[in-house]
Structure formats: C-alpha cells, structure tokens
C-alpha cells in the first residue's frame, strides 16, 4: 500500500540526513560567524562577501536577530563576532565578568541619525530641546514649532532597538518616550509612514534617507547653528546625532577574526562602509 511506501521513503530520508551529519563541522578554524544587530547586518554581509573573494578558504556566516541576540551568542560561544549598535548593558557586562571573558570592542563605522518629516511640512529646523519635547509628548502640534496647525504624529523605532536607546540618550536627555509614540519594526517602515503622513516626524539612519522624506536641520546649541545631516557633516562631527557601530569579540579568538576585522578597518573596508551608507571612520 502507498502508506508503507511513504514510511519507507521518510525513513530513508531520515537516514540520509543523519548520514550527512557525520561530515559536520570539520573546517571550523576557517569559518567565522557574525551575529547581531540588524543595523550592522548589511555592512557585515558586504564586507564578508568582499573578504571571501580575496580569501577563498575562509567562509563567513552572517546572522541577524538584534544586538542582544548577538551579545548573548557571544556569551555562549555560539558566535565569533557580535555585531552591536549599542554599548553593553549592565547585566551583560556582569555576565561577561562572571564568565571571565575579556572582550575587545572595535568601532567599525559611524551611523548618523537624521530627523525626518513629510516633505510638505514647512518646518525646516529644530533644536534638541524641541525634539526632546516632541518625543516626550510635551509638544503635540506643529503650530508650536512654526508650522501649520496639525497634530504631530511621532514615529520611533521599537523600544528594544539600539537606535531607540541611542536617540533617547543623546537627544531626549534620557527621558522616556511618550507612550502614544508609534513604534515601527524597521527603518524602512518609518520612511514609508513618514512619506505618507503629513504631520509625521521620525528618525532614521542616514543611510536610509530617501527623496520621499525631508531631513530637518538640527541644533545642539539652543538654536545658534543648525546643521543638516550629511556624510560630510557627520564626518567632521558638526552634525551632533551620530553613534558608533561595533564588532565585539573574545580576546582569545583574536587570531581567528583578526584578518577579517583588519580588512573592515582598512581603507578598502571603509569604502564599503560608505557604499552601504554609513560614515567611514576616516
């Protein structure tokens, strides 16, 4: 009967699967795994691709999931390099201490955050204080900022993303977001939403900037100078809202990952950083 054939087939398949198990994980020394932040993901992938072109014997796997996932995997020894868009948190530092792991934290690129609004919005520039008030929910109407009489719709990244934390620390003087803020799962979704909502404001990595939205000029000195976000202004540090992106690894594994990280920090690697849309270190 068909039924028994089916079982035979599945049994065969299972056996063939287990057979292929045996040649598992042999060339471990030549394979590097990167895991972590979705912000760093495209950069890590591009660099890995270029690196493998030069070193045909190395294979690099890149896995996303978020900074927390990457750091946890590093703790458990499940990855060689953790990609992170935020600093280690207190509990994480403690856990690494307990495991007696010494970490090397390398900045590999810088990401600037642009504050974006709908292109038809008349407002051109905002101070840090105004941004703080908008995102904490103190200012809720554009007319208080010299715009039209319209409700401000605030878009933010998810409360666990590194970007969210960074913006909170560096723009909102660590105050919490208003709970009416709309949290979008991805930067692409913020661009989409801001481009189709007139009263919208949001923040995105400079790399995601698109002509469908308008970036505001930002001032960190109470309105004396306003700076537009650009690669040049982020590079010379005149644009205030920028953050480093990290590769974190165990010092013991330096030998294994060194050539890849050196490549990322080399002139060639930094050119890739610019291609992806982040700000190179030099």
């Amino acid at each position: 009967m068909k039924l028994s054939n089916l079982f035979l087939l599945s049994a065969l398949l299972i056996i063939s699967c287990t057979n292929s198990n045996q040649d598992k994980k042999n060339a471990d020394s030549k394979s590097i795994q990167l895991k972590g932040s979705d912000t760093v993901l495209p950069l890590g992938q591009k660099a890995a691709e270029a690196f493998m072109k030069m070193h045909a014997d190395v294979s690099i796997t890149v896995v996303g999931g978020g900074s927390g996932t990457g750091i946890t995997a590093l703790m458990d020894g499940n990855t060689d390099i953790a990609m992170a868009s935020r600093d280690l948190k207190g509990e994480e530092k403690l856990k690494f201490q307990e495991k007696q792991m010494n970490l090397e934290i390398k900045t590999i690129a810088v990401d600037a955050l642009a504050v974006i609004i709908h292109p038809e919005n008349k407002v051109e520039k905002l101070t840090r204080e105004q941004l703080e008030k908008i995102f904490t929910g103190e200012i809720t109407n554009w007319k208080d900022l010299g715009g039209d009489d319209a409700k401000i719709v605030v878009y933010s990244r998810e409360n666990s993303s590194g970007t969210y934390e960074f913006f909170k620390e560096h723009v909102m003087s660590k105050k919490n977001y208003a709970s009416s803020v709309l949290n979008m799962p991805a930067t692409g979704a913020i661009v989409q939403s801001v481009s189709q909502t007139k009263g919208a404001i949001g923040y995105i990595g400079l790399a995601y900037m698109s002509p469908e939205v308008k970036a505001v000029h930002v001032s960190y000195d109470e309105g004396k100078t306003f700076v537009a976000p650009s690669i040049a202004s982020a590079k010379d540090k005149s644009y205030p809202i920028s953050r480093p992106l990290y590769y974190i690894y165990d010092v013991k594994k330096t030998e294994k990952v060194k050539s890849y990280i050196d490549y990322c920090l080399s002139a060639e690697g930094q050119k890739l950083v610019q291609d992806v849309g982040y700000i190179p270190l030099m």
Binding site: G90, S160, N176, L182, N183, Q196, T197
Partner: protein, 396 residues
Amino acid sequence: MKRYLEYLIEWIIKGCGFISAFIVLMIVLFLFKEGISFLNSSPLEKNYGLFVSVNNPVRKLTDLQIKNIFDKKITNWSQLGWRNDSIRTIDINNIESIFTKEQLGTNYEYLSICINHYIDSIPGTLAFFSERLLSISSGTKEIEVDKISLWSFLSGEEWFPTAKPASIMGTLPLLLGTLIVSFFAILFALPLGLAASIYLAEIADERIRKILKPIIELLSGIPSVVYGFFGLVVIVPFLQRVFHLAVGETALAGSILLAIMALPTIITVSEDAIRTCPRAMKEASLALGASHWQTIWKVILPYASSGITAASILGIGRAIGETMAVLMVTGNAATIPHGLLQPVRTIPATIAAELGEAPYGGLHFKSLFALACMLFLITMLTNIIAERISAKRKLS
C-alpha cells in the same frame, strides 16, 4: 509474529496520539518556567538600588513614580509626601559632573564615601547605584520598590520594559490591543468566509470551483511579510484618506489585513466541513420540498457547524498570533485603545520586535516569555469557549 507486529503498530499509533497531546504540556512547562520566574522580582536592574537620606520619610516608590522622577515630571519631594525640596537624581552617568576623577578614584574605590557624603549634605538626593559599588553608611537608606506582581503586570497601563532605572511592565494596553484587533478581524472575516465557502461547496459549478479553489488555497501561502507590506502601502493610506485621520496605522488597518489573511484558512476549512455533509441528508431535505437554500441553511450548516467552528478557531488563532503583518500596520503605540481608529500594539508584535534585543535571561527577556504565556492562555481560552459552543449545539 504478525500479531506482535500489529500490536506494535497499534501501540505506535496510540503513542503518537499521546505525544501530540503531550506537546501542549511541554509548551506550558517551558514557557511558564521562563515566564513565571520574573514575577516577584524587582523592576530595578539586578543588584541595583535607590538610596536616599535617612531623614527622608519616603519609604517606598512605585515604578511609575521612579520613571516620572527620572523623566523630570516629578521634581519635588512634596509631590511624594515630604517637605518642599527639589529632587536631585544622581547615578553612574552624571557622577563625573559632580565629583572629580581624583575624588572617585580610578576604579571608583571612593565612590561610596562620595555618595554617602553627598546624600548627607543634600538631603533631597535620590541616588541610583549598584549595590556592589555602594556600601551604605548610617546616613543613607535604601528605598523599597514594589516587586512586580501578577496584578501589576496585568493591569498596568504603561509598557516601558527598557526604561531606566525601573522597567515598567503593564500589559493592559497590549492585551486590549491584541483583543480588539483580532476580534474585529474575525468579525469581518467569518461572515465573508462562510458565504464564500457555501458558494464554493454548494452553489458554484464544478468548473468555476476548480478555478477558484486553488486561487484561495494559494493565497494562504502568501507570506505575512508581503501582506504587511501591502497593508502599509495600500490599506494604511486608504484609511487615512477615507476617515481623514492624522495616522493611518490603526487597529482597523490591522483588523482588515488580518481578516484578509484569515479568509483562505476559514474558507478552505469550512468548505471541507460543508462537503462532509452526507448526500443522503441533503437529498432527504430536498425531497421534503425544501429549497436548495433552505437545505443549506437548515441542514448542511448545522451539520457542518463543528467544522465551521474549527475553521473559526483556526482563524482566530491565526489572527491573535499573527505577528509580522500586524507589526507593520498597527503603529505599535502602547496606549490603551479607545476605538478602532487608533494605533495599537499587540502582544505577538511586541514579542517579535523586542526579543532579539533583550539581554538573554534578563528581566525584559522573561517578561516577553510571560507575554507568550498570556498569549497562550488567551488562545486556550478561545478554544475552550469554541469547544463548549460546538458541544452545546450538538446536544440541542
């Protein structure tokens, strides 16, 4: 020999039945193990404490009060029931603006002395430090912080799991958001799906059915991310225009999208249920002079009701648990929804969006498992209710 083989096979069959039942128990075990352990822990970071002067009569602060203090919304002790004195917060981040490196020592070895001294001299101080760094002197006391209780977890109205120094974990907005979105989704989808399944099973020609059925089955295979993107680009701006809204990302957008997504499941399963109605019953009804429609309404649908209930359970299950699409169209603002035209945040969206970034094994991580437990209990409840309903109908 053959008998033993038969015996063995029968046992395997029984074993499989029990394994399937057992899986649910496993899920309960593993989710609840992680989820429950976070109840009764302090909302503060592990090993951290809040310290004030002994002269300060305030003994206890709630997590919300702490958040408001550090957000500068509460700035005076009189708001907390003490004298008129402004609150000064001090923590590891602003400590170097108060003391010099020399005063603190290279490894913060003098930090305890500095802080205790500071609290002594300025009684309005609220210090937030790790208990490892700070040993309390006689002039300082630690403030009690309410532990996270089941009640505060369920009834809290704010969700700030990453707030510092105390995380605020109230799941009421998430719970209501989930319920409102899925309830309306099923409200939209069930009548439509039922009508379509009746049409496909009873009314349509075999030829038309052969074309339509694969199309519908095909659509249950569209990945939810695609639906999500479709929703964001088409449904959200559409709602914005029709209802003149400031924001298009609303519960309604989520409901509509979920209804569309649940339709193929509901149609396929209830059509199959309708088809299982024995021919003899239909013919008996028609022979008694009932019209085709009366037969459908009075004979076929009651017969298929358990299957249709199953369809709606599957539909609800898909709606409540749907993650990616909802994540993209509902706006995810953790406020208590007052209507369909407001942004909401659902439980699955919260889990999917936050789990990747939450430190493993930490408070936030565990709270997400607790959310998963809640989600599990909700679906279990709907199942039991649905079961009861279909059981009752069979009896009457």
